[in-house]
Symmetry: C3
Subunit: 399 residues, 3 copies
């Protein structure tokens, strides 16, 4: 039997209704050829620094993508059999072709998911595959993709150019010296890859190795970050350093949107607890909330746009966290409040015209409050897929 | 370049699908020419009492409409530049044409909003405008609207009749002597404008000047309202007074739908705290909840329908509240519980056949619970845009 | 005037859009003739055991169906006038024709409801009625249905066969000796009716007569269930007994999805409180949560699939509960959390490949979290109308 054809419907992401589809097509045609400006593109800056070929299909598509391996894991496939590394260094599957075949064996699970839509698009448009991925076509896929990845046109910089990317922001911790970004700049390559300041490891007392992260912050900034004032000064220094590598935004992945506006004494008390690892969960939440407000205060000075994406319950599966660490696909969206949570930050800085905060939401019910009436906008302007506070600032994520 | 045309699509509020649209049209044609019965029409009774011409386009459309000025404010326009009065009496923009131009400069912000749909409808059908409002057409609009407002056909009573309004309810506080309603009646005009009893200022201990409002309640009712029994008696007296001006309903804008059924001693204790301004936030919430139950009890006697519209976090922006007061567009819909919140009231009076409660919701997720099953209706009957409890009562809002 | 026709549109449950409808039709045609496998069919096993004719239209359709009588009750009809029995044995309407007429008088209330869609389908396809149910056709309906119910083809077993039911699960309490199931088996009839283990009466300390139910559990299991170990052993014995009558699943109707993983000492303490009726509401919730985890543990041993349907606030109307008992239509869907609630159970057993948990939801907002991103699946896989945890187990509800 011939393998089923892989056909990408040209309107596959547009509405079904013919009139709505015609409008959607017109809109899409206006943006289709525009360059990509990606303020939140989770790619590894090392790709662009080294411009090394991607090694093989499994290591590119399966091993690092928690949206893929979590689906298989939820259906009983062991992560080790997919080559996902363990924290203890115990051996995992190392044959990329076998990993790829296991993926192909379970590809039917992705029917109707955005993951499948994205993968099929990549297979068809980048690798000229015209049959569907099935157990029977697994090797055809593997060989074709492997062959292409070895070609110069499939190296990271070539793809960056082929994709017509005007600028992409990677995301780094303040404890990152940005060596990859330095290397990109030193290379003379013209692709615009900038960093974004993601301080979770040094503002969330519940982050792994928080005290260690603070020590590293002191080291990199050259400022003693073990007291409240020094800590804030060190963060300011790192923000300036990140701006030197193009950063136009900060990025905050908090469990909730809670913000606080505490007294100086309370801030000092919480920080002292945090750096000794003795915060209660509620104190950690207060500290994170205070740090959003501190980040807003610093944004008023240096113009970085704040991106907040709250509402993911991270590392829900403790056994998986122990064996494989974070970002293993065990993050689950939760109900998220913005109205009360953001009030302390907004009460302090919400009327500043130069502050821009972009709120992402994983909880679509946010959009179902207020529709019957004309939508209240003065403090919180829900959009499509994100919520934007205040007017576009002087300092948009990309000029 | 010619200004873009203002065309109202005849099916602009109907579904896109041709079959659904045909059904919607048939339904609409059945109601299109019916008179308007408006149980919740936020118009000023002084309009109908005085029948004075509206002064100018800005004072009619921009200055008093928080759905409009909040949008501009959220994009960085100062309220003072839109002529919105300040509490301290500091000067604000007083030239209506300049206010109108600023509005026109930002009219693109309303694309896709119900506010725009309503405004364009008004501009086209009332003022025969056939170009869109843009900075270039701002003066054309201003002059046309100003010219019309000066004509007798654009006075409030003439518009009331032109709009085929059978009856409209305005909303007044128990501390309002209803002078405008008296004047309407004395004028001999036949338009039916009735009041609705909105007791928030005297049942919400967190309302501005609550103790003062209670003093005013005593004064107007002729009953000492500074003790629990007198307070209830004064409210009963004011309800009767409002019924004398046509009231068929009460109207309650509480932060939540919470109701209580407390002991007499607890009611007295909370009231004593409230009138001295010493309620904690939780005590204020309890008191408001108790007062919903008290209002239900009074409704059983006098037949007024209860309208409850919970779920708006009011005056979210304290700086704005301080500078300009309430209703400045800083109200934000919040997640709202009805099932637990209404239980105390329903446990007490929910089986009374003569009680009618209309629940409005700003939180559409209310409708997304229970769809898979046949919808539970015995206590809570979600409808379209409102929730009706119990059967249509003897005393519908309008007979 | 002729009575309005009862026409069932062949696509009445399919989407309106022609293209979506064509796809839906193709899908439906593939399943239309498949036998029914009903893992959650709330029918009375006595029907199949006795195979007695249904007595009359009202007793079949109105008196036992809370989706029907709650609608009428919400509009002011007394339950006694619909023949719904009272706990105190006080007389209620006993003339089925009068009950049926009252139902017909209010049938318009069901317009647009799933209840109406299901009833009209039954009337048309089973009773060949081709006019709508109205006050004018009430007697036509009554006579036709009554006549048919007296025929052998309308007895429960004949309908079971006509409906092409492969297997149906009824739901029984552990305190049920399953006499009806015994009788079905003894009868030699080949219809496959199995039981499902629904332990709410013996795991929910707030269930009516909980201490009495535990005594009954001891009696039926032959194990002293008045201490924690004996209680668990007795539950295990009853699960085995239910498996002997075909059970493949358990069924849990908890107010919330909360689960717990408490220490043995805490379990013993809570159980001791529970059997003496002294649990606080919070302790009862903890106990129920612990029992979900215990049920999961037992499922690992005996392979029963867990069905959890949380989120119904049961018996919301205390007056109705007092007069008529439970399942009187006073259950209301509430907002339901799964992410935090299920964590203790999942932390303990969520990685066991042989555990299958089916989560039902009454709160559709569950599906609105996570759409923008590729859906997180590793712990919680939302589907259409139900949520399935982990892969299909060895022991599916029906082999």
């Amino acid at each position: 039997m011939a393998a089923p054809r892989l056909d990408l419907h040209p309107d596959r992401l547009l509405p079904l209704d013919p009139q709505a589809r015609a409008i959607a097509r017109r809109l899409y045609e206006q943006v289709e050829r525009l360059p990509i400006v990606s303020p939140h593109g989770h790619t590894d800056p090392r790709w662009y620094a080294d411009d090394a070929p991607f090694s093989d299909p499994a290591t590119l598509f399966v091993v690092p993508d928690h949206y893929i391996f979590r689906m298989l894991h939820s259906q009983g496939v062991d992560l080790a059999d997919l080559g996902v590394p363990r924290r203890d260094g115990a051996p995992v599957e190392s044959d990329p072709r076998r990993i790829w075949r296991r993926f192909a064996d379970h590809y039917h699970l992705f029917r109707g998911t955005p993951t499948r839509a994205w993968l099929d698009h990549s297979f068809a448009t980048l690798f000229d595959l015209d049959v569907r991925l099935t157990p029977a076509t697994a090797d055809i896929y593997y060989d074709r993709i492997a062959e292409r990845l070895a070609q110069p046109a499939y190296r990271p910089r070539a793809l960056f150019e082929r994709f017509n990317i005007e600028v992409i922001a990677t995301t780094e911790s303040p404890t990152d010296p940005l060596d990859a970004h330095k290397a990109i700049r030193a290379s003379g390559w013209k692709g615009r890859v900038i960093t974004a300041f993601r301080p979770d490891p040094v503002v969330d007392p519940q982050f792994e190795n928080f005290p260690h992260n603070i020590a590293r912050l002191s080291e990199l900034s050259g400022i003693d970050a073990t007291n409240w004032d020094g800590y804030l000064a060190a963060l300011r220094e790192r923000r300036a350093y990140f701006k030197g590598f193009g950063a136009t935004s900060t990025d905050h992945g908090h469990p909730t949107a809670r913000t606080c506006d505490l007294s100086r004494a309370e801030c000092e008390r919480l920080f002292a607890l945090a750096i000794t690892g003795r915060c209660s969960p509620e104190e950690a939440e207060l500290f994170r909330g205070q740090m959003l407000t501190e980040m807003a205060r610093m944004s008023l000075d240096d113009g970085l746009v704040m991106q907040i994406h709250p509402g993911s319950f991270r590392n829900h599966n403790p056994r998986l966290f122990e064996s494989n660490g974070r970002d293993m696909g065990a993050d689950i969206p939760t109900r998220t409040d913005y109205v009360r949570a953001l009030k302390p930050l907004l009460d302090r800085f919400g009327d500043e015209k130069s502050l821009t905060v972009i709120l992402f939401t994983l909880d679509e019910t946010t959009y179902s409050r207020g529709r019957p009436a004309r939508r209240p906008l003065s403090r919180l302007a829900p959009g499509s897929g994100l919520v934007v506070l205040r007017r576009p600032a002087r300092h948009a994520p990309f000029p």
